[in-house]
């Protein structure tokens, strides 16, 4: 029952600095950091102290609301620092890596023979559960629920995104093992979306339904694909997981080890020689970027330019991220910037902005907002880049005035902040769309659950 997905409404933000399809080993990071905020809505409880010795895959902290949900150490080593903020809020756990890596042994499993409960407890115990996220609310999946379907997007359409076909090369066995295991957790299907012309490792996998995706970003967003395949209704839950995390689950099943290794793209105009690097979850950013950046004031982003988080070199690669983007900071003034013709920035209008003349040009965008924050004024421009059957401005406003009924009616169960990254990009009033949606989802999670 394959169903092809064609997106018309969207926008490809073409940036310079795409990673060359070459992989190098990143310098081994001395320190690996786990950041509880990477796991939205989880309240962490530590299971280690400073000085504790850990093997890769052993629990560092667990979810206060569900003690079975463990968050593992990406490496073997010693806990050297636990950083807390206001009210002793846990901010980061730093682990110094051993020179010889040891792995906790979770046992080799045959995913075909496993039952639903076995798979769930195995993923929870080994720390692989947090890779599975759910809609509604875009948080880590609730293991007590059974999802209607599971969605995997193996097509990355975000700016400069890592090429899945490249980074997943040779991982067919791991992917198959993980997909087979996941397919037992849902009553519906495991939907996998690949690019129209992609040479994807997912093609031909058992226990999954393949979809071919085409069109501009956000065609690769899993939220877009869910909306086109089978949107989330009230009362339903679907799960999502990214391909690079499937590989870790697959390796766990095949070898019994939690191997946090992943190939990430280092991209953006701030990188002198953009390419792919092999590193691990939680690696210190400097171990990946040191000596590879251009000498300009730039912003390092763990993730892509639309949804990633700004980091400094001492901070760590985000738990779910498979790329680092470096772009110039834009903290400078521009003379008559509001009225001069614009050739070097992207715009969806033609108000003396000329990016429409060069549809294939790659731009060097910086982090300037290109204007000040205002109330919503212009209408109709969000719809041009928003492929879901939802009224974007109306749902944003409902989130701002916190009308839970209206948020529900307008489709809040279907969306995640990343679905509003493009409306945020084109927003003339420079409203923080993703933050508004995140707060709205948190409110619903708290009030409705």
């Amino acid at each position: 029952m394959s169903q092809d997905i064609r997106i018309k409404r969207g926008l490809d933000i073409k940036l310079i600095g795409a990673a060359e399809l070459v992989t190098e080993n990143a310098k081994p990071s001395n320190i690996y950091t786990l950041i509880p905020q990477d796991f939205h809505s989880i309240i962490p409880k530590l299971s280690v102290k400073i000085g504790s010795k850990l093997k890769a895959g052993e629990s560092v902290f667990f979810n206060k609301a569900n003690e079975d949900m463990k968050f593992p150490s990406p490496v073997s080593g010693e806990v050297v620092d636990i950083i807390r903020g206001d009210k002793r809020k846990l901010l980061a756990i730093k682990i110094q890596a051993d020179s010889v890596q040891e792995f906790a042994d979770f046992g080799i499993k045959d995913s075909k023979a496993m039952k639903e409960d076995e798979i769930k407890s195995h993923l929870l115990a080994s720390g692989c559960w947090p890779f599975i996220k759910q809609r509604p609310y875009d948080v880590i999946a609730n293991p007590t629920k059974t999802p209607r379907d599971i969605f995997i997007s193996a097509y990355a359409s975000a700016p400069l995104a890592a090429n899945y076909d490249y980074v997943l090369a040779g991982k067919e066995k791991e992917l198959q093992a993980a997909v087979t295991a996941l397919s037992k957790l849902t009553t519906g299907n495991v939907h996998v979306s690949v690019g129209e012309n992609a040479n994807s490792q997912f093609v031909g996998l058992d226990n999954s339904t393949l979809h071919k995706v085409s069109g501009p970003h956000p065609s690769g967003n899993v939220g877009t694909q869910i909306a086109k395949i089978n949107p989330v209704n009230k009362g339903e839950v679907v799960w999502t997981i990214t391909p690079q995390d499937l590989v870790i689950i697959g390796e766990l099943l095949l070898t019994g080890k939690f191997n946090a290794e992943r190939i990430i793209a280092l991209a953006g105009s701030g990188v002198s020689n953009p390419k792919y690097y092999k590193t691990k979850i939680g690696a210190t950013i400097s171990s990946i970027v040191e000596g590879k950046l251009n000498e300009v004031e730039s912003r390092i982003i763990s993730g892509n330019v639309l949804t990633g988080k700004a980091k400094n070199k001492k901070e760590a690669l985000g738990y779910y991220d498979n790329m680092i983007t470096v772009i110039p900071e834009g903290n400078d003034y521009e003379l008559f910037g509001w009225t001069m013709p614009v050739f070097n920035k992207i715009s969806t209008t033609r108000a003396l902005t000329f990016s429409w003349l060069f549809p294939n040009k790659k731009f060097d965008l910086n982090t300037n907002t290109n204007g000040e924050h205002r109330a919503f004024v212009v209408t109709g421009n969000y719809e041009e880049v928003f492929p879901l059957d939802i009224f974007p401005m109306q749902i944003l406003k409902a989130c701002m005035y916190k009308d839970l009924d209206e948020m529900e009616q307008l489709g809040m169960y279907e969306v995640a902040p990343e679905d509003f990254a493009l409306t945020e990009f084109v927003c003339i009033s420079k409203q923080p769309h993703q933050e508004i949606i995140r707060k709205g989802l948190d409110l619903m999670l708290k009030e409705i659950g």
């Binding site: 933000i13 700016p159 209704n233 009230k234 009362g235 339903e236 912003r299 982003i301 330019v305 639309l306 949804t307 772009i327 834009g330 903290n331 003034y333 003379l335 008559f336 509001w338 009225t339 920035k345 992207i346 969806t348 209008t349 033609r350 108000a351 003396l352 902005t353 990016s355 965008l365 982090t367 300037n368 907002t369 290109n370 204007g371 000040e372 205002r374 109330a375 004024v377 209408t379 109709g380 719809e383 059957d389 009224f391 109306q394 009616q409 307008l410 489709g411 902040p417 509003f420 990254a421 945020e424 990009f425 084109v426 927003c427 003339i428 009033s429 420079k430 923080p432 993703q434 933050e435």
Partner: protein, 399 residues
């Protein structure tokens, strides 16, 4: 130290101070701020509200320049002295009459905006950039400046600021200003004297006993409402060599501006197109009524009803209203489907009011204000359609 650094230092010093919004208004006019993205996406599109508003102002400039020349041209035509349209004489009279309107509109309007920004501690918003340019273009040229000032204060305070400023208002501020003038000072806003500069003064002189010929300052619509025959050619109507509010006469330039706004994606083509369709539909109906001989030539509506449907698009303020006022995104329908309905009804009602309101034979202002009020209702039903679709999806599942 360059100007950029100097201004930056002043801004840093002014943080938290009362005068900062006023300074920032000038600063951001000179330099786009150094703000960087703090949440969500790290890059943003090139457009901001200033650029958007500026694009509309750019589209209005040709209408303003034409209006200046036309003011002088109509004045000389009415007193029987033939001067060229682009002559220096016409230009001088036009500048003398129109520039004060522009200056008063901006100074008073922006003054109110600055005061509110300082009181409320927010930035000076750009909305008035467009309103301030629209206002002088939609009033009769001889309107006394104090009346204009009062109306602008009313329009900005009651029409916009009490709702929370740009983006929050229900009614189009420029039309609120015009409606205020219309209802408060009707003698200066309608009739057969105010549309050509000098006509009112001349009438006063004659009343005081001066031996002069009266100047007729009548618009085509005014004439039709009186049942007078149209003396202007179609090409005059299209290119705008006719009396009327300062900037509304040239359908040709308004058409070009409309195409520019559609091309630049700043104005909604849905609203403009559907409003034209609505006007044609109403015009057709009236032409049909005349053709079916349901009304006789003696009727006071006959002249306007029998005006060919497409002539309605050329005369009066219809084109100007549809291109520049109906498309105001804040007060129009916000959904794409809603824009079709909203625009169509504006066109339809404009012509209806125009024909049935003999005291003031123009309908576009009232039609737009009326539909401004109904725009949220239209949107509500469009959005409910989406909500129902979602509920239906759920019902199909659970059934």
């Amino acid at each position: 130290m360059g100007l950029k650094e100097k201004l930056h230092n002043i801004k840093e010093k002014g943080k938290g101070k009362k005068w900062l919004p006023a300074f920032a208004a000038f600063h951001t006019f000179l330099y786009t701020p150094n703000d960087t993205t703090q949440s969500g996406g790290h890059v943003r599109g090139a457009d901001d509200l200033k650029r958007t508003m500026n694009t509309v102002v750019l589209a209005l400039i040709p209408c303003l320049i034409f209006g200046i020349f036309n003011t002088g041209f109509q004045h000389y035509a009415a007193i029987g002295e033939a001067v060229g349209f682009l002559s220096m004489d016409a230009l001088l009279i036009g500048l003398w009459k129109v520039l004060p309107l522009v200056v008063v509109s901006y100074v008073v309007g922006l003054g109110v905006e600055f005061i509110f920004a300082i009181i409320k501690g927010h930035e000076v918003e750009e909305g008035y950039l467009v309103t301030g340019m629209l206002v002088p273009l939609i009033v009769p040229v001889d309107i006394p400046l104090w009346m204009l000032s009062v109306a602008v204060i009313f329009g900005v305070v009651i029409g916009k600021e009490v709702f929370g400023g740009t983006g929050m208002n229900i009614l189009n501020p420029a039309l609120t200003i015009r409606a205020f003038l219309f209802f408060a000072y009707p003698t200066w806003m309608s009739g057969d004297k105010v549309w050509v500069t000098g006509a009112v003064e001349r009438a006063k002189d004659i009343a005081e006993g001066a031996n002069l010929d009266a100047i007729s300052g009548e618009t085509i619509l005014g004439g039709l409402a009186q049942g007078n025959p149209v003396t202007h050619s179609l090409s005059d109507m299209f290119f705008g060599f006719i009396p009327g509010s300062v900037g509304e006469t040239s359908t040709f330039l308004i058409l070009l501006a409309g195409l520019f706004l559609i091309f630049s994606k700043i104005g909604s083509w849905r609203i403009m197109l559907s409003a034209v369709l609505g006007a044609i539909a109403m015009g057709f109906i009236f032409n049909g009524v005349v053709a079916a001989q349901w009304i006789t030539e003696g009727s006071k509506f006959y002249a306007l009803m029998s005006t060919e449907y497409w002539h309605h698009l050329l005369i009066g303020g219809f084109a100007f209203g549809v291109v520049f006022m109906a498309t105001d995104p804040v007060t129009a329908s916000q959904t794409n489907k809603g824009k079709w309905i909203y625009g169509f009804l504006i066109g339809f009602l404009s012509i209806m009011i125009r024909v049935f309101n003999p005291a003031y034979p123009e309908g576009v202002m009232l039609a737009i204000l009326l539909m401004n009020v109904f725009a949220p209702t239209i949107d509500h039903y469009v959005v409910q359609g989406n909500v129902k679709r979602r509920l239906k999806r759920l019902k199909v599942k659970t059934a």
